[in-house]
Symmetry: C2
Subunit: 426 residues, 2 copies
């Protein structure tokens, strides 16, 4: 962990650098798998499951019996909290529903927008030692509320060919239509192109390793939309002298444990909190099971001391963190100055893990500075807005002249004729 | 123009095929230009302007004097209609402003979204014989309303090194900050990476030829967001026996004149209108100045006769047209069934050219079936929504247990500790 005190502005960009990986180097490998799944369908998916996940699958789709079995295997306690988190995510995302208003821009010319759900969406949930059922909720709950008709989920099975019961329970609770045992590039390909058993979807969501990221990027070039470009997870904590060092340390470490390429940043004007925070990190780290991963992530994490609060705000908007935690006396004021961030956590009792799991906000957020242009996943991600317009005879009389002159000046005579033909009979 | 009567459903997908080009074959060429502009900045942009646009540019930026000069060169009539169109576009896009509401998902846990403008955006306006000032309005007006601080516009100059005065007038009217003489791949590169004179932006908008499209796709992989993937323009007209053949023909031709790869489709249950429509197309086409282009586009345009209205609706939602014109007696009913389209034009007096120019809706729309997952450009395209949350001591007591159990089950102990550390002192 680097501590940088009072850097000059010219050095800020290098301090805002991420340990991001360029996945374009993987494109050739990824393209091979994509092409085979497009051509061979289920056969290719099964073949790659055997190759990469070391499992022979008679069927890709998770059966009704397996889903029922999962019910019995998940503890009541876990079921209860999954339902609680689902309710909060549902409440917050339901509040984001859009109703377009009709606008008469010129007498007789009425325009409006209508939100319509994307009919078929695909959710990718990575495998690994721990079951990421929280990501199932974060993607499937808004898809369901938005009204997506087909919600497809792909996740790699374990070596016994099983999907973790908590994933299955969360998927069923959130309204997933079909679950498939498929991971990595082959899963993305299956959802992008469709196979005999996996439906083709129109938009793919979800995190994954660098191969999944590369596959999503490649299919997004022409076959399907994706949620957003992905990079390693990151947090910035803004703190002042009133902050509790143990809270800052805990938030730092909860980011760092995600993976060796995670990044945590503390940005402060209070030089005096640096030592207590570092001490708290040392103490808390020593008892963590994921200590090794966490220590690696801390290597490219930073504590940056700046002179003024305005510098802290400027640095933050330049860094554009995925997660921003503000633990200062005036956190409401600072939050109001934030222009680039994925999700902002305000005050001493608002840890990032609240938003990661259960407060209701989404945890699929723009990393790698993408918060300058992208929103995190929200209800909008599962709909598109179609514009409608209706023009009366009166309306085309009022607006027709404008259209005719504009079309004429753009030398598009047929565009002009489409108006003239109508005005001629009125 | 092909006429297909009563095709079976299995044949529909082939009837919905577009003459779309695969731009990935251009990636190697495009990457070379991108890389040079990234390394060499203005020098490379000027070099490629000399090579591709045959013009030597001492300065890339359009000067204040040139903008003033444009004022004198644009007719009062054109100025007036540009202002009229701008007012309508402004009215409609201003109605799309978003205000997030605070939601208390659990007592003491409050979440909300806030819309913040993307600070720097880049608009690309293609060159050619006709000045596309309408596209300037469609991109710059919502960017300005959204509150984007820097609105950069790139467009190729003519061989005298000048930008068309109507482009400059529209840009100034709509609130563009800086205009640069640069076209093609080098313009996209300049905005994606920044040069000595062109600011780096966070999102790039606008149409272009296949090289521009390929360049936008490549830079979108890691450097900058883009509006949407682009393809040739297209229209579908739904008509019944009550429709006026001359209107259908005019709408057909106004789409076809865009370019040789444009596509127009008429989908109807009324076999009796086919001959009158074809006759009207023949008549109107004969006097069009862009007759040759238009005829080429008609080669892959189609008239499809279906049995039932439900088939017409199903076909339309499968085709997912960029523009959809509905000229039937029950156009309100049919419009309500549309799930996949970019922009819908309802009734006899609502030609597509109204939305192309002046009614207020945006004309930058998803082509190539992308309407299944993408919206057209709208106010959302220029903002991102940041989520905020504030949890009180009471709130973390209420929600903490849920977070702890979920984090524990995902084996993320530091995530759990971030809650435990806080609960311990409460």
């Amino acid at each position: 962990m680097e501590v940088i005190k009072y850097p000059v502005r010219e050095d800020w960009p290098s301090l805002a650098k991420r340990p991001a990986l360029d996945v374009t180097t993987l494109f050739d490998t990824v393209r091979t798998v994509l092409d085979e799944v497009r051509k061979e369908g289920d056969v290719a998916v099964k073949w790659y499951e055997e190759k990469f996940d070391k499992v022979t699958l008679p069927e890709l789709q998770v059966s009704e019996a397996e889903i029922q079995e999962a019910h019995a295997l998940v503890s009541e306690e876990l079921k209860q909290v999954i339902r609680n988190a689902k309710d909060n995510i549902e409440k917050f995302h339901a509040s984001q529903r859009f109703t377009g208003q009709k606008v008469e821009t010129t007498p007789g010319v009425t325009c409006w927008q209508k939100a319509v759900a994307i009919e078929k969406v695909g959710l990718y949930i990575p495998g690994g030692t721990a079951p990421l059922f929280s990501t199932v909720l974060m993607l499937a709950v808004p898809a369901h509320i938005a009204g997506c008709k087909e919600i497809v989920l792909c996740t790699p099975p374990n070596k016994e060919g099983k999907v973790h019961p908590a994933i299955l329970f969360a998927a069923e609770t959130a309204g997933v239509s079909k679950i498939f045992k498929a991971g990595g590039i082959q899963a993305i390909a299956a959802m992008a192109y469709g196979t005999e058993s996996v439906p083709k979807v129109y938009k793919i969501f979800g995190p994954g390793n660098q191969y999944v990221t590369a596959a999503k990027q490649l299919v997004s070039l022409k076959d399907v939309a994706i949620d957003m470009p992905a990079g390693p997870s990151e947090v910035e904590v803004i703190a002042d002298g009133t902050a509790t060092p143990a809270f800052i340390a805990a938030d730092f470490l909860s980011q760092a444990e995600h993976g060796v390429d995670s990044q945590a940043m503390l940005v402060t004007t209070s030089e005096e909190i640096v030592t207590p925070v570092m001490e708290a990190i040392r103490q808390q780290l020593s008892v963590l099971p994921r200590k090794e991963i966490t220590e690696k992530a801390l290597e490219h994490s930073r504590i940056i001391v700046l002179v003024t609060e305005q510098e802290v705000i400027d640095f933050t908007n330049m860094y554009a963190p995925e997660h921003l935690i503000i633990q200062t006396a005036n956190y409401v004021y600072i939050a109001a100055q934030i222009e680039n961030a994925g999700s902002v956590f305000m005050g001493p009792y608002t840890p990032e893990s609240a938003g990661d799991y259960a407060s209701g906000t989404n945890h699929t957020l723009p990393t790698n500075g993408y918060a300058k242009a992208y929103s995190g996943v929200n209800l909008d991600s599962f709909i598109k807005k179609i514009t409608f317009q209706e023009i009366t005879a009166e309306g085309i009389k009022n607006l027709g002249g404008t259209i005719q002159v504009m079309a004429g000046n753009e030398q598009l005579d047929a565009h002009r004729n489409a108006v003239t033909t109508r005005l001629n009979i009125l």
